[in-house]
């Protein structure tokens, strides 16, 4: 039922621009991220749960334009459209932060 709560939060919080977005799509895209980014894990790879939406979008675009250096993240970001990044940002920001 956790996902239902997430989807509800997603629609309420984000307004019209993202209301057209698909939370299932964001969740599917996120499955690639969580191979490395898990909220229960302490380490150098940060959790994305509860991350600020604008911050997430900015960082992903910097990886996509290779202004940020990690090659794994550049490769992930390379094939994400603006819409994909927005869907992911909405999905992760709506999740409960590990803190």
């Amino acid at each position: 039922m956790r996902f239902a709560a997430v989807a509800f939060g997603y629609v309420c919080m984000i307004g019209s621009a993202f209301a057209e977005g698909d939370p299932e799509y964001g969740q599917y895209l996120s499955s690639e991220c969580v191979t490395c980014h898990q909220s229960a894990v302490a380490g150098t790879i940060p959790s994305l749960a509860g991350m600020n939406e604008d911050g997430f979008i900015s960082l992903m675009k910097l990886y996509r334009s290779k202004q940020l250096e990690n090659p794994t993240m550049q490769t992930v970001a390379m094939r994400l459209s603006d819409e994909d990044i927005a869907a992911l940002a909405a999905y992760f920001s709506a999740l409960k932060s590990p803190d």
Binding site: C36, A42, R79
Partner: protein, 424 residues
């Protein structure tokens, strides 16, 4: 033999199902709770079971068949070998999959698949029925690919390519080598599980020997002419373990002609090498259940890229090392990625949930010495015939120590994350 049928519906619904069956409707449209059986609890199977159970929220019955109660990952087993991790840290149980996601975990061997009846027979004789079957059995060894090597010889010269006790045995043999002794490594021919693995293993053994037995030597008798991350490994070996490692490709040695397990002698065209300890990793093939299920062409299982369905049976999905994933290497990361694509396709077929464009990814980290980590990775897409590379990267030679340490720390973080993604 009993048939395990996990449908828990009223006879009225079953009657509806029987009427609808002739229309070839998906299970959900027939009012039945669909059943997915997963064979193999590694990076492919555990991830598939977890994602199907988690994302279907109880709409699909998921049964996972895995013989071992505690699963030791192959990835990071080299770090245990190198003394940088303890054994318990690479072992995982299935408790959370059962308790947290309602996966029915059966600790038994899958013996055969009846694709017409859509059942899997277990070692106990029980048959488990499925609507979709996921097979992720990993690899089996082709022991006779190296003359003189055998399943009986695997304790003398451990392949240690399935993690667990074989790696513990190899670690003990390396640590107890005589002073100034020779360790011989025979890597496998392509294609095989974990392409950089043999060379990370050599690095970790050199790491141990350089501290405990610094006059020891490592001879690598490779059946190949080149290997994954070769420039990175060779640079690191020269830097950290000068004069300890000698890599000899088949064009120089002529290949391994015979192994005498009693005398520990490994014969090639140029010399016979006497080993004080050795690891022989034979050629590999898909886990034996694949052959018995009629899914293999040659040694591996061809798949449909977009769904990971077997080319031989649309009700069966093959994940991970056993599949022909073309550009994707046989790795735990790859299997985990393929499992998510298959899980989405299976949920779509069985419950009508949305299906999106499949995306695959892989990154393989390797450790050359403590805090000297490198990586190679790529993103992939499903072509009509093959899984194809979308974009790729590899660490560079000459990177500074801070970046290499960061790469190693990233791999530690990834290990915890993928373990949670499989087992939590």
């Amino acid at each position: 033999m009993a048939i395990v049928d996990r449908r828990k519906f009223t006879t009225g619904l079953l009657g509806l199902g029987a009427v609808s069956a002739g229309l070839n409707l998906p299970a959900y449209a027939q009012g039945k709770k669909p059943r997915v059986v997963v064979i193999g609890g590694g990076a492919g199977g555990a991830t598939a079971a977890r994602y199907i159970a988690k994302d279907s929220k109880g709409a699909i019955d998921v049964t996972l068949i895995e013989p071992t109660r505690k699963y030791y990952t192959c990835f990071f087993s080299n770090l245990y070998l190198g003394g940088l991790r303890d054994y318990d840290s690479i072992g995982h149980t299935y408790d959370a999959l059962a308790a947290g996601h309602g996966v029915n975990v059966i600790h038994d061997w899958a013996v055969s698949v009846d694709s017409a009846a859509k059942t899997v027979e277990l070692g106990s004789g029980v048959k488990v029925a499925y609507d979709r079957l996921v097979i992720s059995p990993g690899i089996d060894m082709k022991y006779d690919s190296v003359a003189g090597y055998s399943i009986e010889g695997q304790d003398t010269m451990p392949h240690a390519w399935k993690s667990g006790t074989q790696v513990a045995l190899l670690k003990s043999q390396v640590e107890n080598m005589r002073e100034g002794g020779t360790f011989v490594m025979v890597p496998p021919p392509n294609p095989f599980r974990c392409p950089p693995g043999p060379y990370e293993r050599i690095s970790m053994i050199a790491h141990v020997l350089s501290k405990k037995n610094p006059t020891a030597k490592i001879i690598v008798l490779d059946p190949k002419e080149k290997f994954s991350k070769q420039a990175l490994f060779e640079e690191g070996w020269q830097k950290h373990y000068p004069d300890m490692i000698e890599w000899i490709p088949a064009s120089v040695s002529g290949g391994v002609k015979n192994i005498n397990m009693e005398t520990m002698e490994i014969e090639t065209d140029i010399d016979t090498f006497k080993a004080d300890a050795a690891s022989v990793v034979p050629a590999q093939k898909a886990g034996a259940i694949c052959d018995r299920a009629g899914l293999t062409e040659g040694d591996w299982c061809p798949i449909v890229p977009a769904t990971m369905q077997s080319r031989a049976d649309e009700n069966i999905h093959v994940l991970g090392d056993a599949s022909v994933a073309s550009a994707m290497p046989k790795s735990g990361f790859s299997a985990n990625s393929q499992a998510k694509v298959a899980a989405m396709a299976i949920r779509g077929a069985l419950t009508g949930s949305k299906v999106f464009d499949p995306r695959f990814a892989n990154t393989c980290w390797s450790l050359i010495d403590a805090n000297d980590g490198v990586k190679v990775g790529a993103s992939y897409k499903a072509g009509e015939e093959k899984i194809e590379v979308a974009d790729k990267f590899i660490s560079k030679t000459g990177e500074d120590a801070a970046l290499r340490k960061a790469t190693y720390e990233e791999s530690e973080s990834w290990y915890s994350a993928i373990s949670a993604d499989m087992f939590s």
